[in-house]
């Protein structure tokens, strides 16, 4: 080690707490970057491998019923490489230990051999293959875990009105159900929704579908046109009650994974860069101060023959040493958090295995970015040091020039105490540095706003979705849409106090070239249970004509109220109609469209039919009600609002809650780092001044007040700016999380602002306390010494 490097090492040790603060802020930015980029890599590579190895299909179609012979027609479509037909049917489940009924999606397995597309991965046990009927089911892993189900366990399902008992043959995963949730759900509810596989014959027979299929998966030949195949599939299936074929990008599970990756991409760049900028500024201020203190040493080195390059390199090494520590901590933190978050993704996504894969390129890039940030941060200071003529550097710096501050010049002078004036003039004498410190403090304040805006956004969504929009206790769906008099049956279930019908129908909404598939909901004109609410929030009345759509959908389709959209009905008789958009609804998961129930039925040319009903059930008869529902053959699904809400709360608590805590920790570190660093630099610059004041009879507290006065002024100026910046950050990040499957509203509460201010104030107070403690170490006698 050269002596110059030894000096570097000792300088670093002397400045350890400040260097550490800078490295820590840098590490926060890097950890975020490493975590998010690595998660993107982990998800993408795992997903792609899984899709390839388990032959995830390219095109999908659902229909009412087509004879198996139609498969040959599909296979004959140019561009189709493989066709797999099957049956997929939603049924009501009776799960041991679960009071309410759950919904199961039963998928058939081929009669001969294994599935050729969307091949399940067997986690344990086996698939119930073959033609024999043994009363066996394979269950999706998420549902199995939620209920502690094991191979050999039992479960009951109502198949076409008949309750049947099944034994579980195995626990499986499928590339079709990476996100094991009903289509359009933002978060899984694994307690009440599960996916199952059973032999074709057994399932088909139960629903009188033997020799037919209602579900198609297609793999495309290389170079095939997806659009052409979809069009051809639609033509072939049209006579069989097709609900419209769609490509992989529209597959609900695939889209949910894609959206998650998009969210991570949003988080992976902008926010970490804010941290790195703050770190660059901190490096600059620490090193500028260090160089100012070492003027004489620089002069000596140069006088003794060290070249400018050597002196420059010496100080650059100083900042690179900080970068190395920052990168090291950032990498460790990033890998650790990455592992935590991968665990969190197990809540959402089911892969055979999802391992954290460190994106090494990101680590290299991140190290490069930090080094660059540090480099630009210190370049100016090093250049000044290098260009200092030795003779000049030998002399102490000339006393700084001051003038009355602007506030005094405009007449405020009499009101200020001497220490306040000192603070004001110090700030004004170095406008750029004061401005940057203020900006760094504002950024620290702003960063604090973001995580809590997540929390508040989620709280708002929960209240909005389940108190304002949905006020039913439970939602029952029928196996098949039935006549509206079915509502009377629901009303007679035990404990039911109120029942409101609804009709769900799959549609494709189109405006110009853009289209989306979703469920069109027919509701009473002005329902009291499931209500259509706008952004105000205010209930919208559904008129006899026209459609209300999610405002997110309106953005995607580029339509506004008054415009028309084309609604293509994807169930039963295929119809296309132009309907005017008459309002925009506020919602935060998936996309929805609403029409008045009778208007919808007229559109469908089906007479008065309903898909189910929203019910209010008296709590005292709750168990009677559930028991009755489990034995109601026509009820295909039963969704209990509170259990969905609890599930949502739990899942967000474990997922976004984790992110929120992580960001909060980072934000607090930045706030402390910036403020502590400013206080230390201020202390170092003014040691002599403060020692003089102590000798002149100022008490330690009074001197402390002089020291922190400047910091307090800058903090006070930074806070409002920080709140504005924070609102901007929150807006930016939340809009990057604004996907078709999940959205968060921008909610900025007074609590959130108050918390940010409190943390920054506490950080200021604590840093001031640390710095003031250092005041005790100031050698009073040093003030008496001449500057030599």
């Amino acid at each position: 080690m050269s002596l110059l490097d030894r000096k570097l090492l000792r300088d670093l040790i002397a400045l350890k707490s400040q260097a550490f603060a800078v490295a820590l802020v840098m590490a926060c930015g890097l950890a975020m970057m490493v975590t998010t980029r690595s998660l993107i890599l982990s998800l993408e590579s795992t997903r792609d491998t899984y899709y390839r190895e388990h032959r995830f299909a390219d095109v999908f179609a659902r229909l009412k019923r087509a004879p198996n012979a139609v498969r040959e027609q599909l296979a004959a479509i140019p561009g189709v490489a493989t066709v797999q037909t099957s049956i997929a049917i939603q049924v009501t489940l009776d799960v041991p230990g679960l009071p309410e009924p759950a919904v199961g999606l039963l998928n058939s397995l081929p009669e001969r051999g294994e599935p050729v597309l969307n091949r399940p991965y067997v986690r344990s046990g086996r698939l119930p293959l073959g033609r024999t009927t043994r009363g066996e089911l394979a269950v999706g892993e998420a549902f199995a875990e939620a209920h502690g189900l094991k191979p050999g366990g039992a479960i009951s399902a109502i198949l076409n009105g008949t309750k049947r008992d099944f034994r579980l043959s195995g626990i499986v995963l499928s590339p079709e159900f990476v996100f094991e949730a009903p289509p359009g759900a933002a978060l899984p509810d694994n307690k009440t929704y599960g996916v199952f596989w059973m032999p074709y014959k057994e399932l088909a027979t139960a629903f009188q579908l033997y020799g037919a299929f209602n579900n198609v998966a297609i793999a495309l030949a290389p170079g095939a046109s997806e659009g052409a195949v979809i069009a051809a599939v639609n033509r072939v299936l049209a006579p069989y009650g097709a609900r419209g074929a769609y490509a992989r990008v529209d597959h609900p599970s695939h889209r949910r994974v894609d959206d998650e990756i998009r969210v991570l991409q949003g988080l992976s760049l902008a926010f970490p860069l804010v941290f790195l900028s703050v770190a660059a500024f901190m490096t600059n201020s620490v090193l500028s101060r260090q160089i100012a203190l070492q003027r004489e040493q620089i002069a000596m080195l140069k006088a003794c023959g060290f070249s400018n390059r050597q002196v420059g390199a010496h100080y650059f090494k100083f900042s690179f040493a900080i970068v190395i520590v920052g990168v090291l901590f950032g990498a460790i933190g990033g890998v650790y958090l990455g592992h935590q978050l991968v665990e969190m993704y197990h809540l959402f996504f089911r892969f055979p295995r999802l391992d954290f894969v460190l994106d090494a390129r990101v680590l290299v890039a991140a190290a490069g970015v930090s080094a660059l940030a540090a480099f630009t941060g210190v370049a100016g200071a090093v250049r000044r040091a290098v260009h200092l003529p030795p003779a000049e550097a030998m002399r102490p710096e000339a006393p700084a020039s001051f003038r009355p501050a602007l506030l005094e010049r405009i007449g405020g002078a009499r009101w200020f105490s001497a220490s306040f004036r000192m603070a004001l003039r110090n700030i004004e004498r170095r406008p750029i540095r004061s401005g940057l410190t203020c900006l760094a403090l504002a950024l620290a304040t702003g960063i604090l706003i973001v995580p809590n805006s997540f929390r508040d956004g989620i709280a708002y969504v929960i209240d909005f979705q389940w108190d304002i929009v949905q006020r039913q206790t439970v939602t029952l769906t029928l196996v098949e849409p039935g006549p509206s008099r079915a509502i009377a049956d629901f009303q007679h279930l035990p404990g039911v106090e109120l029942a409101e019908p609804f009709r769900y129908v799959p549609v494709e909404l189109r405006a110009g070239p853009i289209s989306r598939r979703l469920t069109l909901q027919g509701l009473p004109e002005r329902g009291t249970l499931s209500r259509v609410i706008d952004a105000e929030p205010r209930q919208l009345t559904l008129p006899a004509r026209g459609i209300v759509i999610s405002s997110k959908l309106a953005d995607i389709l580029h339509v506004r109220p008054g415009d028309e959209v084309i609604a293509k009905v994807l169930e039963g008789r295929e119809r296309e109609l132009a309907v005017p958009v008459i309002g925009l609804a506020e919602d935060f998961a998936g996309m929805a469209a609403y029409m008045e129930l009778h208007a919808l039925n007229r559109l469908l040319l089906e007479g008065d039919r309903i898909s189910g009903a929203h019910l209010v059930v008296n709590a005292s008869r709750w168990s009677d009600f559930l028991h009755a529902v489990k034995h109601t053959p026509r009820a295909a699904g039963c969704v209990i609002k509170n259990s969905i809400r609890d599930g949502f709360r739990k899942t967000t608590g474990e997922s976004i809650g984790l992110l929120q805590k992580m960001y909060l920790l980072f934000a607090i570190i930045v706030a402390f780092g910036v403020i502590y660093n400013s206080a230390r630099i201020s202390l170092s610059e003014r040691t002599r001044e403060l020692a003089t004041l102590r000798v002149l009879g100022f008490s330690r507290r009074e001197v402390g007040a002089v020291l922190v006065g400047e910091l307090v002024l800058l903090t006070v100026a930074a806070l409002p700016l920080g709140l504005v910046i924070g609102a901007g950050f929150a807006q930016g990040i939340i809009s990057s999380v604004n996907t078709e499957t999940v959205r968060l509203p921008l909610v900025l509460t007074a609590d959130n602002y108050a918390f940010a201010i409190l943390v920054v104030a506490c950080a200021s107070a604590l840093s001031a306390w640390f710095a003031a403690r250092k005041l005790a170490d100031i050698n009073l006698v040093s003030a008496l010494k001449a500057l030599d």
Binding site: A418, E689, V695, L784
Partner: protein
């Protein structure tokens, strides 16, 4: 030292004309820094009394212990051994806040490097101190006393070295201190400027009756003092009284 032993003890006897009230009463004062083999003895037991209205010059080379002694008198440091009384009050055993109060009320410091606050004007540098003490004179009055009335709204960077030092003196005397401690007050100044600064100190001492203690390695300053003490190796090796104080102008520059 044998010659000194025949004289009346000059370090305790008040000079003619000086007030009888002792400001400092010092006996066997010693200060050791560090401990064990690393111990450095800076003062090896000094005795003296300083009185009101006196002008005392402490002479000595670098390392003689004169700065250590000044630090003890100024309440910046506590003795290891011996008695150090300020107007009968034991400075040697005072705590941190007691020393702060002592410096605030009783002591005016003049530093070799002036130690003005660069962000405050001359007037404000003085006012900074007058704001915190009990019976100060107006900052303007203090600045007039050192002849800086016309330049009191200038910042330190706009003042010459001599002017800056005079601001420092004004700052020191504005609190009407009982004692003015000056550490090489002319060390950073040329002769002409040094004279104006010393004249300011002399005038304060004469007009206000402030005990002024000047430490310096410049023996020429001895003639302006009532009493002169020479320190070497932590001891007082010589002490004498001037029958008549010389004026600053007449010093043999």
């Amino acid at each position: 030292m044998s010659a000194a032993a025949h004289l009346p003890h000059p370090s305790s006897a008040p000079p003619a004309g000086a007030d009888r009230e002792p400001i400092f009463h010092v006996r066997g004062l010693a200060r050791v820094y560090g401990a064990g083999t690393a111990a450095v003895t800076a003062l090896r037991g000094v005795d003296f009394d300083f009185f009101r209205g006196e002008l005392v010059v402490l002479l000595g080379a670098s390392g003689s212990g004169k700065s250590t002694l000044l630090n003890q008198l100024g309440g910046l440091d506590s003795p290891t051994q011996g008695t150090l009384l300020y107007r009968g009050w034991n400075l040697g055993t005072a705590d941190e806040s007691g020393l702060t109060q002592f410096r605030r009320d009783a002591v005016g410091f003049v530093f070799q490097a002036y130690n003005l606050i660069p962000s405050l004007t001359a007037r404000e540098n003085v006012a900074l101190i007058t704001e915190i003490c009990r019976d100060p004179m107006a900052p303007e009055e203090a600045l007039e006393l050192v002849g800086l009335g016309p330049r009191m709204d200038h910042f330190p960077a706009q003042l010459s070295g001599g002017e800056q030092q005079r601001v420092a003196i004004a700052r020191a005397i504005a609190k009407r201190p009982a004692v003015l401690l000056c550490d090489e007050p002319t060390g950073a100044l040329d002769v002409h400027t040094g004279i104006t600064v010393l004249e300011a100190i002399e005038r304060i001492n004469r007009d206000l009756g402030t005990l002024a203690v000047i430490i310096t390695h410049n023996a020429i300053l001895a003639d302006m003092a009532d009493r002169v003490f020479t320190l070497s190796d932590g001891r007082i090796v010589n002490a004498h009284s001037n029958a008549r104080r010389g004026s600053v102008r007449d010093l043999a520059w």
